[in-house]
Symmetry: C2
Subunit: 252 residues, 2 copies
């Protein structure tokens, strides 16, 4: 376990959906803002990383359990720590709490180092991660592998101007938006996510379009984002009817 | 002139575009967050407004001058004041400054009151706006009228799940995204906005799609968002080549 850092965030109107729940992509962006702050505090900000090593951090996987999605106007506490690292990955935990101290989300993120010029992964230098005080653990933990989807439902999305971020590729948050959107308003109006596994495979370039493929099996949805015939991201999301969640929320 | 309120905001990775400039829709969302904070501080928050009057604020127009778009990592100061009001509109100024005190954006927003059930405009009660200490000015100022576009270039956008906000309609920020996107990557990579007039005419409901129409006349673009055959929003944007702006920025 490493040093713990946290920040409180008040959920704004624009970060919430029609049902007033925080949009998951917006919440993940807040998490990354908090981990970036920790890195800056420890003298390991993005500027240092690119100047000293010529590298950038990228997320390869998210695994999350969602106990309750916070709502508009709530002030949440985002707590993070680097848990451990090996040659290829740094494993970072985010715990999100409400103001009563109840755990809302438990998120494990896999960070890897990328050379932005060659777009290749780089070995994590010990002295880069030393200030986080997390142990080196030789074993490389990988997220559970998802099988390719057979005959999924497919929907095409053009890549838009604002989908691209400063890395020159589609921002990570967009993949999840495309996955959600493909499920349709009727489903999303009735269900809330409880578990999510998301793996990024390949960056999506500007221009052109992507295909958001999905299959729904009971209350589990399986997703693939395809770009230029290649797999860009995969996800598995478990859902529960909103009524169950509402009952749980009303107990708070 | 009314009471002045301000807040500082640090621009996050996700709020910035590929060129590291803040996304204008994200900046407008920050502005509204700041004016909402002022309203709460004066005991006139959204909860009070809906409980006491059964009404909500909506924006009908924006007029803005953009001296420089702030970039990722910059801390900006968003200053706001209610300038004046009449029966139908409350006029609110946002001044956005950088850390040297230079004015980056000057934004005039027209606020109107809406009955969320009937979707009709309501007269602004004097005691609602009294705490802002802005004068009642009888004359109704309207933004400059934009002519309908003849034979514009048209592009269709499906309304996505996350485009809808808690009001049950497309969030204001999306209109501007659709207008931008229609101009294409090549144009947006070379030009930055300097003046913008945006008028909201009619809300866009969930589902279906909209058409983003535009015409480019020299360095001025004209936009219309059409939904179900009706005009939903109009805009006029003046642009300048990025090179000119870069020279200006480098003087700072």
């Amino acid at each position: 376990m490493g040093l713990v850092y946290y920040q409180t965030v008040e959920l704004t109107f624009d970060s919430c959906d029609r049902a007033s729940h925080v949009k998951l992509p917006a919440l993940l962006a807040d998490c990354l803002m908090v981990s970036t702050k920790q890195s800056e505090q420890l003298g390991r900000g993005n500027d240092y990383l690119i100047e000293r090593y010529g590298l950038v951090w990228v997320i390869t996987d998210y695994e999350m359990t969602i106990h309750r999605l916070p709502v508009f106007g709530e002030t949440i506490k985002i707590e993070t720590e680097a848990l451990s690292y090996n040659k290829l990955f740094c494993y970072r935990r985010f715990h999100i709490y409400d103001q009563t101290g109840a755990l809302l989300l438990d998120i494990l993120a896999y960070f890897a180092l990328l050379d932005p010029k060659s777009r290749k992964a780089a070995v994590i230098p010990d002295d880069l991660v030393a200030p986080y005080r997390c142990p080196f653990v030789k074993k490389i933990q990988r997220s559970s592998k998802l099988k390719p989807l057979e005959t999924p439902i497919q929907q095409t999305y053009p890549v838009r101007y604002f989908d691209i971020d400063m890395n020159g590729h589609v921002n990570n948050s967009k993949y999840l938006e495309w996955m959600y959107d493909a499920l349709g308003d009727a489903f999303l109006g009735k269900y809330r996510p409880t578990q999510l596994t998301l793996t990024y495979k390949k960056e999506v370039p500007p221009g052109g379009s992507i295909t958001s493929c999905h299959l729904l099996d009971g209350e589990t949805s399986y997703h693939e984002i395809m770009s230029n015939g290649q797999l860009s991201a995969q996800a598995k999301i478990e859902w529960q009817p909103i009524s169950i969640e509402s009952e749980k929320t009303s107990d708070l």
